[in-house]
Point group: C2
Chain length 402, copies 2
């Protein structure tokens, strides 16, 4: 999701373009930004020693980053340190910000995150988006984006990019929603429909949720499988700290892995897919409940109150998840499986059967399963942070626009 | 598989080390080698224009590569071209070679491949390795390696590396065979056991088979799922032209994806795994045949002769493969599925049911399935070429040893 945001990023440039002084400068600017972001405040000397360049080379890079508003000087370091005091550098709390947006079935949300990772502005609106066409939904989203950008602007922030999380399949152009089964969207080009001047990236909500887990989760490893749910079941595969997109951008469709090859027909064309056992509607049906507004809240409430039908339905969903995850774990060998989105709230009742199925089917130590702390916040935060990471990965691209 | 061969490779250096003149030179040497390898013979000027560096910069790099025996000059270009005639450059047919080796259940094989990709020496020996311990097998393999290295040496080639393909799980250190169910190997450190001076890489045979398909196949795309079989069923996932290894190096275990969750128990600890339906032994059993020496040959011969029991057994194996592959395709979104190894010989009888299952279960256009032209040669060639590619990827590492 992050890569298409800027045409040039350090890893891509290193592989495909000739290796020039200009490319080297660009990659070293990124190294300085990442170092200060991860470990700052730091003096110029400390940055130099951490990235293995001379103090003089680092000073030139730092000056450029200060001029374009990406770094700021906090003034002389506090006394008590050895040597000549240097001025501590920090990532700027003003300047570029990442705008994240989320189109949910029941809501729209937008937030602005600064380069330090702080949420600085936010707007949420309930909206009945199920079966609704792209134009009116995106017109409403655009209003929220403008509102958040204006609010962030009052704090000295300007939008470096806008990333939109949607519950559907997104093409590799990171603009076109090919299909969003629970909205009435098909081949919707969000670049045209949102018509914003801010550089745009569109991505699947499960993918942004996984990136949020990678960047903001507690000790999340760089290789994991993230499983989430809103109406459907989505998954995202993170390998060596990057999303696996697939040829068309459709990787991670765990919801349509066959669990019982001769099970009930699925709208996808298959039979016995995971979604037929562990999708929200299947679970509500199995529990004898009607689909309403806050479906996950209802299931969690009833399960907590001891409703045996709901608990059984969730137990069976956990078993189906365990079977589908066994296949995924055998294919991908991830370090962990993380349950996010709506599944996080239902984890207490899903996990026992899910883990027992995964354990008994796996030779050797089973893959550990953990529950996301971010829950339903993941996709929105992941989207905003994807923009912030793209700035840290290629500060030069933003400096030129500052 | 390729990455661990040398500690420094261009992509890795770009990401983790400071960007220095030295690193830049190293990466540019690789660009020159890859360009001449892919498009040569080429003049210095042609190389310069293709990689976007000055003619002078390219000449310095070329001289270094000629001095260390990686490139050679073919003499003046033939007349009829515009401009001053330049001397054409080609990848050297002498100098470093990749040594590939394969440990099969019924055979051992070793070959030497030069930097141009030609097989220059080769040795194969039948061996009853099933249930045999690592020490005697590797002592025998070492003899074959020495024999092939000596033969290659007589043609002016020296071993830049040795890559060994094994039918088992290999740890990420690319030395240790953690488990090889059809040999009697467990936690065997091939670095110790082979005791060779040549830099060693050990990999799973399905992974090397997939790399062979990537590098030598007809128009193989950079994203595909490679499915192969000897005794077990192995798969390898190639993403953006690289193998997906998994956290422990165990990715690609398609054979233990659940196909029928309540099916027969599998030695892996699961139930109804793909191997219980499409593994060699399961197919022989279903066809009413005894496991003998050339099991795949027997199945192919009987099926070709119209044996209805064998054809039915292969049809059912194809169905099970189709179900497991539906899950894999949904998770990974590869461009194609390639059947390799023993499966290639059986494809005529597996494909119809496999493709029909995959088609009917997939929404939208199904993932195309093709059959490898390399067949059982894949793992051995993939291993040798992995060494050759590592030389092209970081010529400096070899030049230092030349």
């Amino acid at each position: 999701m992050t890569a298409p945001l800027h045409e040039v990023n350090p890893a891509g440039a290193g592989r495909t373009l000739p290796d020039t002084q200009q490319g080297m400068r660009r990659r070293n600017l990124a190294r300085v930004m990442h170092t200060v972001s991860a470990e700052g405040p730091l003096s110029r000397a400390a940055v130099a020693s951490r990235i293995g360049l001379t103090r003089a080379a680092v000073s030139t890079l730092v000056d450029e980053l200060i001029r374009s508003g990406l770094l700021e000087e906090l003034g002389p370091e506090r006394p008590g340190r050895v040597g000549r005091p240097g001025s501590a550098l920090a990532v700027s709390a003003h300047g570029p910000a990442g705008i994240g947006a989320e189109v949910g079935v029941d809501h729209l949300a937008v937030c602005a995150v600064d380069l330090r990772g702080e949420v600085r502005a936010r707007a949420v609106r309930h909206a009945a988006n199920r079966g609704r066409a792209a134009e009116p939904v995106l017109a409403e989203l655009r209003e929220l984006v403008d509102q958040v950008v204006a609010e962030a602007g009052r704090e000295g922030l300007w939008p470096a990019g806008l990333a939109v999380a949607v519950p559907g399949l997104v093409a590799r152009d990171a603009r076109t929603v090919v299909r969003a089964p629970n909205l009435d969207w098909r081949d919707a080009d969000l670049g045209d429909l949102l018509a914003t001047d801010v550089p745009l990236t569109v991505g699947n909500e499960a993918n942004f949720g996984a990136l949020a887990e990678l960047w903001l989760g507690d000790d999340t490893p760089p290789d994991f499988l993230h499983v989430s749910a809103e109406i459907g079941i989505g998954a995202a595969v993170v390998v060596d700290g990057s999303l696996l997109h697939g040829t068309r951008g459709f990787a991670g469709e765990l919801g349509h892995v066959p669990v019982q090859p001769e099970g009930p027909a699925c709208p996808c064309g298959g039979r016995g897919c995971l979604e037929q056992y562990a999708g929200e509607e299947a679970v509500l049906r199995a529990a004898g409940l009607e689909p309403g507004e806050d479906r996950v809240g209802l299931l969690a409430e009833r399960a907590a109150a001891g409703d045996e039908d709901v608990r059984r339905a969730l137990r069976e969903a956990g078993t189906a998840l365990g079977i589908a995850l066994t296949g995924a774990v055998n294919l991908l060998d991830p370090r962990t499986v993380v349950l996010g989105g709506a599944l996080a709230a239902l984890a207490p009742w899903l996990l026992p059967s899910l883990e027992s199925e995964l354990d008994r089917r796996t030779a050797g130590p089973a893959c550990p399963v953990s529950v996301s702390r971010l829950g339903p916040e993941g996709p929105l935060l992941g989207a905003a942070h994807a923009v912030v990471r793209a700035v840290l990965d290629d500060p030069a691209s933003v400096a030129e626009r500052a």
